[in-house]
């Protein structure tokens, strides 16, 4: 801990107001999402706690019929908007983290493999990466989602949607990781410690995972942070378009989709609060990623 507080990284963090503020915002959002059941005043998915009479209550104003008052108002079914946002953010963050983790594991493994093994393996993996890079990743994610939806039986579609979403966003994003890891692996491969490990008869898999991998991870961290912001936005976009999280498990994107329907009838709070939350989340993670990139790579400044 002492060592961490004295490190260059922490110093650059402490002296960058943007980084500190965006870290605090991101941390608050993540914590309130993780502890949503404790923070949220109601559980929006428990039908017993809902009262249809509370529908369309404006923020901070008592309801005409029940006299109850809600911090961010309620939606058409009387669900507390603040609670749905907390639970929705949970799904957004879960999908975002899981998708990036999936893309990272896949990308690191394929990157190591193509960098270390070379030959045909490398050609096939990197060609596939090139082909995929030709298309915008959101389009790739949509296609994967569509195909996966077609394969899953109708009765499981809503349950599986979250997992399909993670798979789709993860698969659309592995290329960045694989490219960077491959580049770093090519450099590390020719170093003496790799030759030594090979001499004492370690298997290629052990050399890749135990010896090379720890040395190629620092750029991966930067990409992961930036990917997280992109994954959160991608998830929100897909859900907003109606090809993501189902209304039974709404993420922030689904909530915005629902809220858009009330834009013309004057219930602005159903749309505004989820949208503002998404914006804060994406912006803070994005700024953190930018800061981390500059801090770990002073040359890029």
């Amino acid at each position: 801990m002492r060592r961490f507080l004295d490190s260059d990284l922490f110093y650059s963090f402490r002296t960058s107001p943007v980084a500190v503020v965006s870290f605090i915002v991101a941390a608050l959002l993540v914590l309130s999402a993780v502890f949503a059941p404790l923070v949220a005043p109601t559980n929006p998915f428990d039908p017993a706690s809902l009262n249809l009479m509370n529908g369309f209550t404006a923020p901070m104003a008592p309801n005409d019929f029940t006299g109850e008052s809600f911090f961010m108002g309620t939606d058409d079914q009387g669900r507390d908007v603040f609670s749905t946002i907390l639970y929705g953010m949970r799904i957004s963050l879960f999908v975002g983290f899981a998708a990036v983790l999936f893309a990272m594991v896949l990308g690191i493994f394929l990157g190591l493999l193509s960098g270390y093994v070379g030959g045909w393996t490398e050609t096939i993996i990197m060609r596939a990466a090139d082909v995929q890079l030709t298309f915008p990743s959101i389009l790739v994610a949509m296609l994967i989602f569509g195909v996966a939806k077609g394969i899953t039986p109708v009765e499981y579609r809503d349950q599986m949607a979250i997992w399909v979403l993670i798979l789709a966003i993860g698969l659309s994003d592995w290329v960045q990781f694989a490219r960077v890891v491959r580049g770093a692996t090519l450099v590390e491969k020719s170093k003496d410690y790799v030759a030594a490990a090979r001499l004492i008869g370690r298997s290629p898999l052990t050399i890749m995972l135990r010896h090379i991998m720890p040395n190629v991870l620092s750029p991966v961290l930067v990409i992961a942070t930036i990917s997280l912001a992109l994954a959160i936005i991608a998830e929100a976009t897909l859900s907003f378009l109606g090809v993501g999280a189902p209304p039974t498990q709404p993420s922030l994107g689904t909530l915005i989709r629902i809220g858009q329907g009330f834009l013309f009838s004057g219930e602005w709070w159903i749309l505004l609060f989820p949208a503002a939350t998404l914006l804060m989340l994406a912006l803070s993670v994005n700024l953190l990623g930018d800061w981390l990139r500059d801090a770990l790579n002073p040359r890029l400044k």
Partner: protein, 322 residues
């Protein structure tokens, strides 16, 4: 040079064959067309007969070849949802998307270059700094939020512009255009801004950084010493020399505009190809999805190929490396 071009064309054909394979596999592995076409009361003989009729008893490679043959002729089968040929539906929807993409592309290029030059020349001015900061937020803002924001401002609050659809369209030789009516033009404004905003920021930032680079060169200082006016220096000398990378980026972004039209078209219920695709995903309409995939990949591969070949003409080093 020729061998480089041949190699690149070969690679592009390979990419198209692979995406074709993906599109074809969607037909083969996602759902059974026999199931879709025959009702509940069917005999094994019916199934076999239809299977033979559709050529589904043939080996995979033969089926794939037939699929490609049909696709090249623009025949992508019949939409499961609308029951009409997919090619016909796509042709009907294409003008809407192309007009939207055209207008937002022009907006992105003109506004992007103008703002880029402005922020480069007035580097320390307040307005330039405000534009730069706003553009940073604009990049992190998801497209659909920008669209909703514009709708809220200009349709709900001010009531100036329509929030959905294309307005009145005129049919000119099979091409339905919104350029000829007032409501059609009005309907174009918000979607084009939404779609073009990201590309505009990109072009603006690129033009700005290239301009700053060029303005530092000796020939600019020399032009100043010759007593040329600022206007001539900035636009004749500086801007001209920033255009090469800008044109490349514009070329590469062309494809993204059409791809991202999916989002904008959904927000504004714009009856284009993108909205068709999203609806196809929602209802698992495989023929439409496959056709859209093929169409978009031909476009992307063609754009990449053209940019690469142009590069080879401009930069001789690439020819040697190839």
């Amino acid at each position: 040079m020729l061998s480089y071009i041949i190699k690149r064309v070969g690679q592009s054909v390979l990419v198209l064959l692979i995406t074709g394979l993906v599109a074809f596999s969607m037909f083969t592995f996602v759902g059974d067309p026999i199931d879709n076409m025959l009702g509940q009361e069917r005999t094994q003989a019916d199934i076999d007969r239809l299977r033979e009729q559709l050529g589904l008893d043939q080996p995979f490679v033969v089926q794939y070849y037939r699929f490609l043959e049909q696709a090249v002729q623009g025949n992508f089968g019949i939409s499961y949802r609308q029951g009409r040929p997919v090619g016909e539906i796509l042709l009907e929807r294409a003008p809407a998307t192309l007009e939207l993409a055209l207008v937002s592309g022009i907006f992105a290029i003109l506004a992007g270059i103008a703002l880029g030059v402005f922020t480069a020349i007035r580097r320390d001015g307040i307005a330039a700094n405000v534009i730069m900061s706003v553009s940073l937020i604009g990049v992190s803002l998801p497209t659909f939020l920008i669209g909703i924001l514009l709708i809220y401002l200009f349709s709900v609050e001010l009531g100036w512009l329509p929030s959905f659809g294309r307005g009145d369209v005129v049919d000119v030789g099979g091409w339905s255009t919104g350029f000829l009516t007032a409501s059609g033009l009005k309907a174009l404004i918000l979607p084009s801004i939404t779609l073009g905003l990201y590309q505009m920021t990109l072009i603006m930032r690129l033009v700005r950084s290239e301009m700053l680079e060029v303005l530092r060169q000796d020939y600019i200082r020399f032009a100043l010493a010759r007593g040329l006016s600022n206007r001539v220096i900035n636009f004749r000398h500086a801007l001209k020399n920033t255009m090469v990378p800008v044109i490349t980026v514009i070329g590469l972004q062309l494809g993204s505009i059409i791809a991202f039209a999916i989002i904008t078209e959904t927000v504004f219920q714009w009856p284009g190809v993108g909205l068709l695709f999203i609806n196809a995903i929602q209802f698992v309409d495989i023929p439409v999805m496959a056709a859209y995939l093929m169409l978009i990949s031909v476009m992307f591969v063609a754009i990449n190929l053209i940019v690469d070949i142009l590069y080879a003409f401009i930069d001789p080093r690439l020819r040697v490396a190839a």
